[in-house]
């Protein structure tokens, strides 16, 4: 049986269902036991599973990541949460030098079954240190998987798989995506990591988007449809290991590839997708490539500038339209600001 729920509800359900069947699963993170419960994603879990399995942590990202790794080495399956991805910078040493390398540098004798949840912020002035998307940093390092689902259905299935996975998995969420709703089965189910999802089929352009940019790109695709333009929208879901084949198959057909990453461009995920595609096709058949992402600056707080920092429905649609049919005109009025941004109220 399924019903429509929010992504944040799907995340909570995934944790709850895995904790119910596997006593090794523990949940730790700053404030996970408070009244807000990390936007509802951890609400009630401490009461249900006890303070030993579900606990608040000191403000010590580096140390607590090491603690989570140590618990994983001892056979537990920790889920360590961060309310902002920016805080992961404090945990880089443990994630990169230990979690990602343990299996390899000890010759496969042990591994780190750890899930790290990190939430990217946006809007209401999240600014320089509450809005960063660092998935590309982690995808650079062998030994750690990076997942970034954008539908409630994928969020539940991927989180369950991440918890069951014997590798360290970085599970990237987005504050704007938390509100997204979709059909989600009540029963537990696991989705394979490393499998992209085609969100809408099309023939003229392959649009690969990540994080909140998936929601924006979906709207852009709808706008383009009204102009008679056909876009195939692909959500990679897993950033690393990347399902290149699904992207290549699509580009084979459309001959146009636009990547809209929820992050900066320089040395990032968008560059990886284009590079793989260029290597694969080797210039055969005149494929056009483009990418969009955050402006190459620190994220500003004021709305007047923040609005320009992110790709939006209009400029994604305009870029795609220009690639398919150069010169075609597109009215900005067709592309209002995303409702989750307009409606979002802080302070958090």
């Amino acid at each position: 049986m399924d019903r429509i729920i929010k992504c944040s509800e799907a995340i909570r359900e995934a944790i709850d269902q895995e904790m119910a069947v596997d006593e090794r699963v523990i949940l730790l993170g700053q404030g996970i036991d408070d009244a807000k419960g990390m936007w509802g994603t951890t609400l009630g879990l401490q009461k249900k599973y006890g303070e030993e399995r579900v606990f608040d942590t000191p403000l010590a990202e580096d140390g607590m990541t090491g603690v989570a790794i140590g618990a994983a080495l001892a056979g537990l399956r920790p889920i360590h949460t961060h309310i902002r991805m920016d805080f992961l910078v404090l945990a880089m040493n443990q994630l990169v030098n230990i979690a990602a390398k343990t299996r390899y540098m000890y010759g496969g004798s042990l591994g780190v079954p750890l899930v790290v949840r990190a939430v990217i912020g946006r809007s209401w002035g999240q600014g320089a240190q509450h809005s960063q998307a660092l998935h590309s940093w982690f995808a650079h390092v062998p030994g750690i998987k990076v997942v970034m689902p954008t539908t409630a259905y994928d969020a539940k299935g991927c989180l369950i798989q991440a918890i069951r996975d014997d590798n360290p998995v970085l599970f990237v969420e987005h504050r704007m995506v938390h509100q997204a709703q979709s059909h989600v089965p009540i029963e537990p189910y696991a989705l394979p990591l490393g499998k992209a999802r085609i969100l809408s089929s099309g023939t003229q352009l392959t649009l690969v988007a990540t994080g909140h940019m998936v929601m924006e790109s979906m709207r852009a695709a709808e706008v383009l449809k009204t102009l008679g333009l056909s876009v195939e929208l692909i959500d990679p879901v897993t950033i690393s290991p990347l399902d290149s084949a699904t992207i290549f198959n699509s580009v084979e057909k459309t001959r146009r590839l636009l990547v809209v990453d929820n992050g900066w461009l320089n040395c990032g995920f968008s560059a990886e997708v284009l590079a793989r595609s260029a290597e694969h096709f080797q210039g055969a058949g005149n494929i056009s490539y483009a990418r969009m992402g955050f402006a190459p600056v620190t994220c500003p707080t004021t709305k007047a500038l923040e609005r320009q920092f992110y790709p939006n429905v209009f400029n994604i649609a305009a870029k795609a339209a220009d690639m398919i049919a150069p010169g075609i005109s597109l009215s900005e009025e067709l592309c209002p600001e995303a409702p989750e941004i307009t409606l979002f109220r802080g302070p958090f």
């Binding site: 523990i26 140390g63 140590g70 080495l73 001892a74 540098m105 000890y106 004798s109 042990l110």
Partner: protein, 312 residues
């Protein structure tokens, strides 16, 4: 404490390290080595107070700890030779020794990084109602890292079954601790977290053994913990490599004489029966020869192994 075993364990580690020094110019060990000579009594004293199921975490200067906890000598030597029969199939080397069967949970080359893992491991043991404990070894340089204090704080908060052992050998590479520490009373800082802390002078593995024995009992019988011990010791060789480093001028050669005066190998050799000493020497020599032959005779990993064990 069984003093003959104590002597034997220390001597065994020292002879292994001396064999590494002897082999090093042959370039069969093509990786950094951080030798433990001089510091072995700390690993041996502490590990003799542990049970096989207890778990230790260590540092890149980890040969002594690995061997003292029961780590397999053949696999260690093969690891140093980069052979597939090594404890990490040649992928870890001297700085990443591991022997899960004997509770050696790994050693890290980034100072201080294994400390929070030991805390997390101990947290899991407590949650699993286990009857074993964790001991984490690190140098006084690690006490300068922020993660050390984060680890102390969480370990004390959750009262985990863990013993912290700081092997204070006074130097971080070539920097003396007086140039790095605002105040030298490490135990005072640890006690501020509510953790019982004690300093043990003179490279005294026997005193450390007794202290660890008591701490382990208090943890398992009364739910006490964590504990902290600062064991004063001294590195005889250079920071990394097979030689000495007196010529660098950062420490005086006569500094070592006080440490040699309290060295258990030199001291206990005068107390034990000469026949027993001869037998111990011969046994150790045979074991080392066997381990080196094993390493020599083992194959290197197949090139396909480059791509294995990145993911489960």
């Amino acid at each position: 404490m069984h003093r003959q075993n104590y002597y034997r364990e220390i001597l065994r580690i020292r002879r292994v390290e001396e064999e590494i020094i002897r082999l090093y110019p042959s370039d069969k060990i093509m990786s950094p080595v951080h030798l433990s000579i001089g510091q072995e009594p700390i690993s041996v004293g502490a590990c003799m107070a542990l049970q096989p199921e207890d778990v230790v975490f260590g540092t890149y200067r980890g040969h002594a700890l690995y061997l003292a906890k029961g780590g397999d000598l053949r696999q260690m030597m093969a690891e140093l030779f980069g052979k597939v029969t090594g404890c990490a199939r040649g992928k870890g080397g001297s700085m990443h020794l591991i022997d899960l069967a004997h509770g050696v949970m790994g050693t890290s080359a980034v100072v201080g990084t294994s400390i929070p893992q030991a805390v997390g491991y101990a947290y899991a043991l407590k949650a699993q109602k286990s009857k074993s404990i964790v001991v984490v070894f690190f140098g006084e340089g690690a006490m300068e890292e922020g993660v050390f204090y984060e680890s102390l704080q969480f370990a004390a908060l959750k009262k985990v079954p863990l013993i912290f052992i700081c092997e204070n050998n006074l130097y971080a590479i070539h920097s003396h601790s007086t140039g790095r520490h605002a105040q030298p009373r490490h135990c005072d800082r640890v006690e501020a977290f509510g953790i019982p802390a004690r300093r043990i002078e003179n490279n005294d593995g026997e005193a450390l053994h007794d202290a660890v024995t008591d701490a382990r009992n208090a943890i398992l019988k009364h739910g006490a913990g964590p504990f902290f011990f600062e064991a004063m010791t001294y590195r005889w060789q250079e920071h990394v490599g097979p030689g000495t480093d007196w010529h660098l001028g950062y420490r005086e050669e006569n500094e070592i004489s006080a440490w040699k005066a309290c060295d258990p190998v030199l001291k206990l050799a005068n107390e034990l029966d000469p026949d027993i000493l001869t037998r111990i020497d011969a046994e150790i020599q045979a074991e080392i020869e066997d381990a080196v032959a094993f390493a020599e005779g083992s194959p290197f990993p197949q090139v396909e192994e480059l791509y294995t064990d990145v993911y489960a």
